[in-house]
Subunit: 301 residues, 2 copies
């Protein structure tokens, strides 16, 4: 029986582990703030595909309680500098434990890979609309696809094993041998719309597209990201910018996750989404005027 | 006796015309909002160099009342697209009337020069700390120097005539044959600190300089402005950026005029300071990523 420890019992972590639990995986969920309630009631997943109850195999309040050995540690916290993943997992990680990282951003795997070079690191990108509705209730509004691959290598057997589990549970899974490329692809959208929605004072995607000045910024930022991707050996398709804009035009007006975080007074994933891209540019002596200006402004919020 | 009509009875217009009145110039002041009070009491200038009372020769509430012919029309309104100077003055301007424009920004003379190609246009840049303290009271806190020159030509006799009047009144005056160069020089500071103080959420000059990210933005914006100046045939001294930063470091923490306008809910001089520079860049097919990003953000306020 596969055993997975989940770090980060937010919407993403709860949803993807709930699906694994449905196909028999033993999930140990680390809950901090909502421990008492979830210990008693579990988590309700209200999904547009059908509601269900998620009762984890084990719920723990403190990582020190752990005496089990896990096949996987699934990390689904927000990607924030204040959350030090290696410190959190170093005493739990066993030689054969694989790490699954479901987070936003670029080059977010590096720190973990360097700290644990002998543990396989599976990097995952979620395309999903899911949020915490209330205590113990997660609302799955749309999408659900996940892209997974081994960090820095071809997709391993462990990746395919996960693929099968999630597929069995009804999740759309794409296995890739080029997870870095997929991260740059997602960053094209994320790196533009997320910070712009904040620095342009709470604009949703439609409002951004409807302003010529803002749309120009979107394109210029996307262009800088494509250039960086190329230098990182990830050549993105030439039409990716236009495709992203056309696809966003078809979407309903949408508040980005960064804007929702900002409005709720929560920390924003600025480093994972912008800071790491800029650091990479600097390491290659490339200037990124658009990204750097937006970064300087948003880090002042 | 020299007769001057003053359009824009704010702090700048009141101060520089009050000084002219002190040396015998007949000032006609167009007052809109504070007409009744100023008609009765005049304007009190509280200056660090000594207070004095300014009683204009004539005060008018409506430009239609005018039947005089003026030697000069002095325009000291804010530089805003919503204030259409040619429309305001076209019925008052006589063939020999000269126009004096005391305003912030770059390329702000063009519209006036094109509308009145046969009237001399004197362009002036004020370096002064002066503000409206209360109804009928202007507070002159520091500096006072004014640079004047004929727009698009060498300084004329009319410029030197004005120079002598202001000098006699105690004002420091610099006459230049290159007023465009002087405007670009001032824009180096204005184009960086003014908008950054707003988009960085109310930072004063010292706070901007103390943030590495913000200071980098300052330098990058100043660099773009220097490049534009050069293309506009105004080569600025190589050390101008460093000199501006060193000089600003020596200043007391200072809230820019744009920030004061923003905080008071008044219109900001975004077009005169940023928009015109960007338009010029576009006309020369030059990209200005830093200026354009800041512009797109500040026009969204």
């Amino acid at each position: 029986m596969t055993k997975i420890l989940v770090i980060g019992a937010g919407a993403i972590g709860s949803f993807y582990s709930a699906k694994l639990a449905q196909v028999g995986v033993k999930i140990t969920l680390w809950c901090r703030s909502d421990y008492d309630f979830i210990k008693k009631n579990g988590i309700k997943i209200e999904s547009y595909e059908g509601d269900f109850q998620f009762i984890p195999h084990k719920i723990i309040e403190n990582l020190h309680e752990i005496d089990d050995e896990f096949d996987y540690i699934l990390i689904a916290t927000k990607a924030l500098p204040s959350i030090d993943i290696p410190v959190l997992i170093k005493n739990i990680l066993k030689p054969k434990t694989k790490i699954i990282l479901i987070q936003n951003g670029i080059h977010i795997e590096k720190n973990i890979a360097e700290n644990f070079p002998n543990n396989e690191l599976i990097s995952a990108i979620a395309f999903i609309g899911v949020s915490r509705k209330s205590l113990g209730v997660i609302c799955h509004q749309e999408y659900g696809k996940i892209i997974i691959g081994t960090y820095g290598a071809k997709a391993s057997d462990a990746v395919h094993f996960l693929e099968n589990l999630w597929k069995k549970s009804g999740i759309e899974v794409l296995v890739t041998d080029e997870i870095l490329l997929e991260r740059w692809k997602k960053l094209v959208w994320n790196g533009a719309f997320n910070p712009l929605s904040v620095v342009l004072h709470g604009k949703n995607t439609t409002e951004i597209l409807n302003s010529d000045l803002a749309l120009n910024l979107v394109k210029n930022i996307m262009n800088e990201i494509c250039n960086l991707a190329k230098i990182d050996n990830c050549e993105l398709p030439a039409e990716i910018i236009e495709k992203n804009i056309v696809a966003t035009k078809k979407m309903k007006p949408y508040k980005t996750s960064m804007l929702l975080d900002f409005e709720a007074g929560r920390q924003m994933e600025v480093e994972a989404i912008l800071g790491n891209a800029i650091k990479f540019a600097q390491s290659k002596s490339i200037t990124t005027p658009y990204l750097s200006t937006i970064y300087a402004i948003i880090t002042n919020y």
